[in-house]
Symmetry: C2
Subunit: 307 residues, 2 copies
Amino acid sequence: MLFNKVAILGIGLIGSSLARNIKENKDANFIAIYDKNKKNLETASSLNLGDIYTSNLSQAVTDADIIIFATPVCSFEELAEKTALYAKKGAIITDVGSVKQYTLEKIEQHLNQTTGHIVVGGHPIAGTEKSGPENGFSLLFKDRWCILTPSSNSTPEAIEKVTKMWEHCSMKVDTMTPSHHDKVMAAVSHLPQLIAYSIVGTVDDLEDYEHKEIIKYSAGGFRDFTRIAGSDPTMWRDIFLTNKKTVLELIQRFVEDLIALERNIRWDEGDKLHSLFTRTQKIRRDIIEAKQHQPEAEKLLTEKLKK
Amino acid sequence: MLFNKVAILGIGLIGSSLARNIKENKDANFIAIYDKNKKNLETASSLNLGDIYTSNLSQAVTDADIIIFATPVCSFEELAEKTALYAKKGAIITDVGSVKQYTLEKIEQHLNQTTGHIVVGGHPIAGTEKSGPENGFSLLFKDRWCILTPSSNSTPEAIEKVTKMWEHCSMKVDTMTPSHHDKVMAAVSHLPQLIAYSIVGTVDDLEDYEHKEIIKYSAGGFRDFTRIAGSDPTMWRDIFLTNKKTVLELIQRFVEDLIALERNIRWDEGDKLHSLFTRTQKIRRDIIEAKQHQPEAEKLLTEKLKK
């Protein structure tokens, strides 16, 4: 048993998937689930994800051995300030936020060595475009990476316990600095997500095309972007606002590259287009070789489709 | 039996999937498969997709009742010119090209009422990021749309036969003008594809990040774009060059919208971000309601993952 009492703050897709794992893995005697949203608490209760369901923060965090922040990241500051009033000395504070530098600064303003709390930042890189406790499932984390971003305040014992918790969810755990994490994630996650939102907005705005036609023929490629752009609006708003500097730099780079491609098309530079498209094909192959491409899902589908 | 002899020119993903269907549906007595690439012919032969496999165009098209252009679209002009030398009077000429205005102009320069051939443009909206005859499968077209773009040269009988051929592949068939087709496809397919190529290039170029890390953490969102950007380079080069005007206009619109988003992030306009992200979520819901989201694949995956 890793912990006696666990407090999960925010029972959305990630929080609920983690709760399922902690229960199945018998990693806690008692799971307290906190959420401001009554409907989420009711859903969590009907799914039997924990032991108490409350929108009273004090009730959730009092006596907890580990407190897991799993709400949209802009709420972390207020949540940390209030948590500091009730969290016991020696409690581990961790989170699942997709941005690490901003969030850990906000948490550590209120929960730190001086207050007697041990902070270990974390980010399980897993998710679907669906949100809410009803969409969580315990295999969400399987074979995915979890990045921990410990600070000088994190003790080896606390890091080990957080590592074990995620490893028990079948995650592979890696460690890096918060700023490096934010740079890598801006490239592999935040920029792609912003582009998906942007293109779905552009296509939806076109006055020449009927909305109906766009929906009807979306299988042509647009559909894949709408899946990504169907993700939780609040979570993503917070990510862009809190990883602002890195995201803005990347947008500039991307626009430069797109304008270059535009020019290649305008001037019939087919060889340059072909050479980029061949390079991107190679990257896809590298990902497949690194088994980062959801092999299980693709295998299932291929089996079903091939006669 | 719809046809006595069918000639499929180009045995890639689409050509080979169509060949499988024509065979299974008994829509032809004889299937001639033409490809310039000897390896493709060998693969097609080993998969038993047709009756003859040849890189001699005359052998493929002579006496064919229907000749199906299924090569990258920039090759259509040369192919049409040569086909005109051997195709019998009254033969139906159709294609599977993703661009219609340019391709039909090129085909109809050489194959038309005067030469005694009946042209019916077509575009089955289906595909995967994989190319080559070994990746085709007969269910590729199931429940997808096929757009026909008949001209004044197309006879009702020819349109009906081409419609039936695709309906037998379980496609839903729609009709529109070539220019309208190209506008709709630029929005739902060509722009998204170009953006995917562009972003994968941008991320791969970043000097601050190791290639290794990008591959490792690609599950964060980047992976979805690499799947799209893993598509056939030649096919896509040809699409962008032949639907140039519409694609260039759309890139401009997209860049404008992206710059507006960039500004929202820079000036902390969280409400504007949230409002766009909520709108894109609604579009996703519309697509799911219109059953254009590969329900079979998603259902399979959900069943497998949910305990």
